[in-house]
Symmetry: C2
Subunit: 468 residues, 2 copies
Amino acid sequence: MFDFSVKKDKSKKLYIKVFEEIREAIEDGRLKKDDRLPAIRTAAKRLEVNTSTIVKAYDLLEREGYLYKIVGSGSYVGEVKTAKVSSEEKEAMEELWDIKPEDKDKINFAGASPSSDLFPVEDFRRAINTVLDREGGEAFSYEDARGYEPLREKMVEILKRDGIEAVSENIQIVSGSQQAIDIAGRMLIKPGDKVIVEEPTYPGAISSFKRAGAHIISVPVEKDGMNLKKLRYILEKEKGIKFIYTIINFQNPTGIFWSEKKKLKLLELVERYRVRVVEDDCMSEIYYSPKKPKSLKAYDRNNQVIYIKSFSKILMPGLRFAFMLLPQELAESAAKIKYMADISSSGLTQRAFHEYLECGNIDVHLKKIRRIFKRRYRYMKKLLGENERIRIYYPTYGGLFFWLALPEWMDGEKFSRKAYEKGLLLFSGNRFFQKGSSNPFVRVSFANATEEEIEAGVRILNETLEEY
Amino acid sequence: MFDFSVKKDKSKKLYIKVFEEIREAIEDGRLKKDDRLPAIRTAAKRLEVNTSTIVKAYDLLEREGYLYKIVGSGSYVGEVKTAKVSSEEKEAMEELWDIKPEDKDKINFAGASPSSDLFPVEDFRRAINTVLDREGGEAFSYEDARGYEPLREKMVEILKRDGIEAVSENIQIVSGSQQAIDIAGRMLIKPGDKVIVEEPTYPGAISSFKRAGAHIISVPVEKDGMNLKKLRYILEKEKGIKFIYTIINFQNPTGIFWSEKKKLKLLELVERYRVRVVEDDCMSEIYYSPKKPKSLKAYDRNNQVIYIKSFSKILMPGLRFAFMLLPQELAESAAKIKYMADISSSGLTQRAFHEYLECGNIDVHLKKIRRIFKRRYRYMKKLLGENERIRIYYPTYGGLFFWLALPEWMDGEKFSRKAYEKGLLLFSGNRFFQKGSSNPFVRVSFANATEEEIEAGVRILNETLEEY
């Protein structure tokens, strides 16, 4: 019955370990509904623990709904729950958690945010102090749930430069783009609704949409955007589709950007089939060609696009700053969900960011990071190009990653683990797919690596390939 | 059919107004499922707008699922949706939104956070600058989803002083107590589960629990805690109760605190019936008797209490800082939901708060605000006591509010509106009840009022009573 043992180290309390082992057995089907669990004494003997440990573990399992008790008979497996954290959520978490303190010495091709030496810390310090001088305690009061009004006005200006007309009442300030995605999901999805995503895509979005009760439908990414034939087929066939989630420019993880033709076609399709688009724009600012690529929102005449712009990749992720531009009929709902989620984002951060933008430093900063990233981009591309067993799967000219296809018989997951042992952090492809089956992809990022580190990292990549 | 007209001011686009009017008619039952809507031209004529306005409004209604179209026949009312923002959420929002910029000159008995002149701004500025000097860009990197480890260690120390033993791995740092409540709800509630709350209670909690799919059961508050007979009856009778949400000390809005006897009894009950408690501790620090009241968590031997401690009422709400102490088996789930909600709270804020605590300023600050609030408390109590038509419904000796019973035939809601016209902001009782029926209660707070303002405010209260 119990095909496991329990390690007696001190990492967790013993009854928690027993609890987790049994829970896992229930969740993966080794123990089935109405199976009878061993009696307390039998179990204690089998696992070589005290009976009180088993009592506590069974109690917890019962409280969590995994077991039910029949007096005088024993404990039985209950209805298996589905509201547990899904494996996709786990993967989303790992995206950051993989970079543990002990990994700080490793070469980091995993992180997708600029390294901290690129942050405009001094400019921000000045902005914070200016705000505190001028506003004192006011800066620490509750802020409007929609965000600090002057900052929302500022966002309207920024949008205008990108060819997007907006009014500040439709702008919702949030604590980073993950929050924007989560709010969009909570606002639009009822349990049983459907959401279309690109495949591969950012797993944090999938987590939120699933949590909100959505069924996820994936459409493959091609070099110039989604496969629109498949998309149209799904839109035609499926009922209850609420929105399409997409990263139009320098997509995560593939790096592709949509052609203008496909952007227009997408808008045509969503108009015909009356679904919305949630556009996650975290990367447009990081372009290496002379012209900045346009967002989908810039073409959106019928207000079908909910637009999310993040500053985590271009300024500092720790700011926790992003905003949403909403169709007018959704602006109030979004503010209500923001309020329910955490009342409002930090007023000090918002005011300091406003002050920072007022001083006009951001253009200088953007030019600087584009220059640095472009150099790294070219250098990594060149080095990767020297190994013919690696293929940069999609050509792109912006963003912070390369999506690499290893030889087809390789498994990206195993490859990443081998590279990790050699001192290189990178992400295997399957965390970006909904069904995590084996595939030969890995994502490498140069956001957090200097040129020397890029060189050393690619060297490890090549070695790992040799030995695989 | 259309028993409304549309105002042609510029506050919103015309088609949005038409959309909202029809939506309201559907939601409140004036239009029923499968009712046929007037043809475009007829509707345009009736409302005196262009046909294109009606087309857009109908389109939006269809997209939002309120209408369905039959080609060649017309538009019909669809299944009425239930996932819309409930009235409780609206009320929760209003709690802050009532204080509009144009209300800044009014006397504020509504806000429940300290006024900004009481914030330790200079100490915080120093802490921020120290952190930036020492850590530079590191302070703006992504933080661990569970929170900045040294700050979590600090929270363990703070808990220890309150008689609560904890380890930092079970501490989850969040952006304010509303986020803690929302995370608890998303973590524990599956659609159809039940949650027990005090009545009256904080409406922001009800919003979150309902959004997560909970059915809310209210148990009346008495002067020494919940009515435990009713609680026991409900626990005995109802299946699927996930947790009890409670504010043990200086409850919002009544100000009551639980007796030790009732605290112990509550823990006995939840152990017997195997439900958890979510304890929202936002007020314990604001006591006026010599001894600080104990939290429920301090008595919790079996780890059944999820403990939330907020610093919004005692430091600055704009910090957006609170933490949860979780039973070990829930710590990981909470971190995952935090990650899904917004990845992590601002690293700079967390590090600055840690620095602030390291310098040991918080005790001095707490003494100061307790002294100030105690003076205001006494003064307001004295002035309120002079009008025999007002009754302070519960005796208390801490917190920031009084829960007032007006003469029984009065309606707190109407009373608040009259007081508002005279320049006084306060909250009517019915926003704290689940069913917002008329009642004679109002909540007055002295958190945001100086002694002169307390005097002027109570004068308005008395005048409003006279004229009612």
